[in-house]
Amino acid sequence: MPGASEVTVRLTVNGTAAAATVPARTLLVHFLRDELRLTGTHVGCDTTQCGACTVALDGVAVKSCTVLAAQASGHEITTIEGLAEGSPGEGRLHPIQQAFRDEHGLQCGYCTPGMVMAIRQILADHPDPSEDDIRHALNGNICRCTGYQNIVAAARKAAVAMRAAGQEG
């Protein structure tokens, strides 16, 4: 049989090197949650719809439920746990996280890590997004609690804050 049914995955997660040998079929989201105990990234569906599993791979937002850990080997991952650290400004929260708090952009919190990571991408691509831009770009993320209104408000607030701080993500 070509290939291996177990793979040694080596990647950098939130700036720290990590490695583990796992079955080839291990999804990146399960690798992060089960091997590295980074449980902030969530699983909300099984058809790549809900976006609760969104992380950044080489700086770009992807759905970690639809990436094999094996595919991610050799790459850099940023999860919600890695967002607050290293961000400039006061407090431990990234501007997007702070904006979510200010605007009541979360209720049960389950979609939130994925939402925050998705908005990070939206703002990286559109530093000055319109409300329409944000709503359309969030079509890969589902929230069932908030009706999205405060999430959009948080995204807009974060955009302003990040532009003011000259921040890119």
Binding site: P2, T48, Q49, V62, L68, I122, D125, A137, G140
Partner: protein
């Protein structure tokens, strides 16, 4: 949620790919190529597909990059939708492509999904193939013993069915510069399913307008039939005619002649046919408007 077990191999070159495919064939194992995996992995997670071997082709240099010259643009099969969208030249020349990329899946999936995957998967409801079809794209295919080029129109055969053999790999998609005279305009219109965001119907129109006459028209439809197709009747009606609204309506009304539409609980056949007509009219109007704007800017 969990794919069945498989063996994973990462190919560093096309030679690696052929060697791995051959090894799988000899051991009577089903092997699949994976680039972005945004079509394949969802199927595997639902156990609708269970290949025993996955060959990761995302790292292969020969599959990357977009090369443009005066005659054509060649898009490496491993080009992600995201990278494609960032190529300013293509977006400017073929705004239909920008239209499609703006409504295709979502930002996360576009960061991983590839153009090669879009073509090789044979999905009846896919946005980009409609645009590529309307642009007369060619699929570059390589096997161990040589390469061939197939018109996309000949490559797409049916629902998840393409002309790709088990020992072949799609290496690039080539779009020849549109030969017709006049100013070029294109547009993609989509009616998306509210849950999956797949096109229940999608229409791409590519027109060139010269001296107030439609010099060429290419119209491709996706989502309503087993494979995306070119609407020949519509194109013939438009050719060499001034773009009056009655002409557009007439042309749009023929966009699905002879097509037996898909019908399911998402959308019935008659509704899909109707959508195709409406979207054709809208795509043509926008494409013509863009062509006209290009004329003025010349």
């Amino acid at each position: 949620m969990f794919p069945a077990d498989f063996a994973y191999a990462r190919a560093g070159s096309l030679d690696d790919v052929f060697a791995l495919l051959e090894q799988a064939r000899v051991e009577d194992e089903e092997a699949k190529l994976i680039a972005g995996g945004q079509s394949l992995l969802p199927l595997m997670k639902l156990r609708l597909a269970a290949p025993q071997v996955l060959i990761d082709i995302a790292d292969i240099a020969d599959l990357k990059g977009i090369a443009s010259n005066h005659e054509s643009t060649t898009i490496g099969a491993a080009t992600t939708y995201r990278s494609l969208g960032q190529h300013e030249n293509l977006a400017a020349r073929y705004p239909a492509m920008a239209d499609a990329l703006a409504v295709l899946a979502d930002q996360q999936v576009r960061a991983r999904g590839t153009v090669g995957g879009a073509v090789a998967h044979g999905d009846p409801a896919a946005d980009l193939p409609a645009v590529l079809l309307a642009l007369d794209a060619t699929v570059e295919i390589t096997a161990r013993d040589g390469a061939r080029a197939v018109a996309l129109d000949d490559f797409l055969l049916g629902i998840y069915e393409t002309d790709l053999a088990e020992d072949e790999i799609v290496t690039a998609i080539t779009i020849k510069d549109q030969a017709a005279p006049g100013a070029l305009g294109s547009a993609y219109e989509k009616f998306a399913h509210p849950a999956s965001h797949l096109p229940i119907a999608g229409v791409c129109a590519v027109v060139s307008v010269e001296n107030g006459i439609i010099a060429s028209a290419q119209v491709a439809v996706t989502g309503i039939s087993p494979r995306p197709y070119r609407a020949g009747d519509t194109e013939r009606i438009l050719h060499s005619e001034p773009p009056r609204s009655s002409l557009i309506e007439q042309a749009a009304s023929q966009v699905a002649t002879g097509i037996t539409p898909l019908s399911d609980h998402h959308a019935s056949g008659p509704y899909r046919l109707h959508l195709a007509e409406v979207l054709t009219r809208r795509a043509l109007n926008r494409a013509i408007a863009r062509a006209t704007a290009n004329t003025r800017s010349l």
